[in-house]
């Protein structure tokens, strides 16, 4: 391959401060309206933490951002491009599967259940998409994958299969796997909820250093201390709507709605 880094996002005009913008996002599953008009903007380099009761639509919203779910109303753009569509003149053309796949390389996602590929080693999990999707040279992909494994403290586990790793180790490999695509934004859906308590810290630590390195992140979590320490913005969702939004200190210490107060009293 002559061009080893076609994944790098196109040059972004400096005047566009928002990496992700959601406008009036509506999502229904059958007759159930799960998202009832979500408006959000995530600034470059910022960490937005989303909290809210179970079933309030947090996971669904994250899955709408990388279009694992299609919308029933509104739109979401990443790096100024509307997800799922190509703008030409004043028309929007729906993307083909291959085009959508390419668009998804801008967003990295980390799942509650890790979802590492069970038939591949940690290293192969990380190199698979860069090699197959971006056409990266195999050796270079391996070198990068090893470097990424080192940043999450797992360089010695490169040849282990997922089943041979602890939950915390699997989740750190999953973070490295998403980072290998050099996304513009990282989406975390309750990355520590499936972990034993003593393993939560290592994953939060990796996420904290990622935030400090300037990555744009949207994190759904129940870890309020992470929200307070690492988050730049805290969003509270309830029943498909955003009911609070502000700096973590503001929102946690002075919630304006009764629902949010109630929710915080339960999770603290």
């Amino acid at each position: 391959m002559t061009d080893p880094t076609p994944a790098a996002p196109p040059p972004v005009e400096p005047e566009r401060p928002f990496v992700v913008e959601a406008r009036a996002v509506v999502k229904r599953f059958g007759s159930l309206e799960v998202l009832k008009g979500i408006d959000l903007s995530v600034q470059r380099g910022q960490t937005m933490v989303i909290v809210g009761p179970s079933g309030s639509g947090k996971s669904t919203f994250l899955r709408c951002i990388n279009r694992l779910e299609t919308l029933n109303g509104g739109y979401i753009s990443v790096e100024g491009e509307i997800m799922g569509y190509r703008r030409q003149g004043d028309r929007l053309y729906e993307l083909t599967d291959a085009e959508l796949a390419r668009q998804r390389t801008r967003t990295g996602m980390v799942f509650q259940q890790f979802n590492l590929f069970g038939h591949l080693t940690a290293l192969q999990n990380i190199t698979e998409a860069p090699v197959r999707v971006l056409g990266l040279d195999r050796e270079e992909a391996r070198a990068r994958a090893r470097a990424l494994l080192a940043t999450v403290g797992l360089e010695h586990k490169a040849d282990s299969y997922p089943a041979q790793l602890s939950g915390g180790q699997q989740q750190r490999v999953a973070i490295a796997r998403a980072l290998a695509m050099q996304p513009s934004v990282m989406l975390f859906d309750e990355p520590t909820s499936a972990l034993d308590p003593e393993l939560v810290g290592e994953v939060l630590g990796a996420m904290r250093s990622l935030a400090q390195s300037g990555m744009t992140m949207i994190v759904v979590t129940h870890e309020m201390s992470f929200a307070r320490d690492v988050g730049n913005t805290l969003v509270v969702m309830d029943d498909g709507r955003i009911i609070e939004q502000g700096t973590p200190a503001e929102v946690l210490d002075h919630p304006t709605t009764e629902r949010a107060r109630e929710f915080f009293s339960r999770v603290h």
Partner: protein, 282 residues
């Protein structure tokens, strides 16, 4: 203290009765004046019989390969978002599972009656660029491969479909989230992980195919059964030669049952990944 275990008198009596019946059967066959085991021994390694064994293996392997190819395509079509592909695949499975394989074999063997020539041309016109008599292409062996392959493809499609569905949704989500297309996800993530699931039923299908291939003898294929028929139609030693064929079938199926165990063990170890430094490679 002496411990007296429960005595299973009923079991002992039933066991003895069954053994007696078996012994009687074996003796009546072995001491039967009308069966000549010398003929069995003579014909075990007859060149015609050995050729039949070879053809049975060839027919089974090629038909199985055709079946797997068709089965994978039909399974993927069945799961595709395209309603036309889905229906065609479902219709294929419905038809080929719903009609006897013997009927299908005879049908392909006689295809020349309705389509005398096979060619390339422009559909719905009389323009033909190239054509051959169909009986040059659909030889008895090819008719058998077509019939057995298409038939087993319908069963294999269901096996592969179940294998694909057994791979968790999370694996697919993760692949899509990384920017892998549907096709790439199927090829690199889903199909490899369904391999350990489909190996046991595919092995059964293979052993079944070894025996179904005997049906090809009715359309003049000289596989194992056809070759012994050939001999007994001349010397009239029908049962002796059927015993020869049966012994060969048992040898072959025993061998492949053993191979199946090895294959399953290898893949089940891969799934558990116990100490698998380089364990699975799919």
């Amino acid at each position: 203290m002496v411990v007296v275990p429960v005595r299973h008198y009923g079991r002992a009596v039933a066991g003895a009765a069954v053994l007696l019946v078996l012994l009687g059967l074996v003796l009546s066959v072995a001491r039967n004046e009308n069966l000549d085991f010398a003929v069995v021994a003579e014909n075990m390694f007859e060149p015609v019989v050995l050729g039949g064994v070879g053809l049975t293996l060839l027919l089974t392997f090629i038909s199985m390969a055709v079946g797997i190819l068709i089965g994978v395509i039909a399974a993927i079509a069945r799961l595709s978002p395209n309603p036309v592909l889905r229906s065609v695949s479902a219709g294929y499975v419905w038809f080929f599972r719903g009609t006897p394989v013997l009927v299908q074999l005879i049908f392909w063997f006689n295809i020349g009656i309705i389509f005398p020539r096979l060619g390339i041309g422009i559909p719905f016109t009389d323009v033909t660029f190239w054509s051959v008599p169909i009986n040059d292409v659909i030889t008895p062996l090819n008719a058998a491969i077509l019939g057995l392959g298409l038939n087993s493809g319908a069963y294999i499609a269901e096996i592969i479909r179940a294998g694909i569905l057994s791979v968790s949704k999370g694996q697919v989500d993760a692949a899509y989230a990384l920017g892998m297309s549907r096709r790439l996800t199927m090829r690199r993530i889903v199909l490899p992980q369904s391999v350990p699931i489909v190996i046991p039923p595919l092995s059964n299908e293979f052993i079944g195919m070894l025996k179904y291939s005997a049906l090809a003898s009715v359309i003049a294929v000289q596989e194992l059964l056809g070759s012994v028929e050939n001999i007994y139609s001349r010397n009239l030693r029908v049962l002796e030669l059927l015993i020869v064929a049966s012994i060969w079938y048992l040898i072959i199926t025993t061998f492949f049952t053993f191979a199946q165990r090895l294959l399953e063990r290898r893949f089940s170890r891969g799934r558990a990944m116990v100490g698998a430094a380089g364990g699975v490679r799919a």
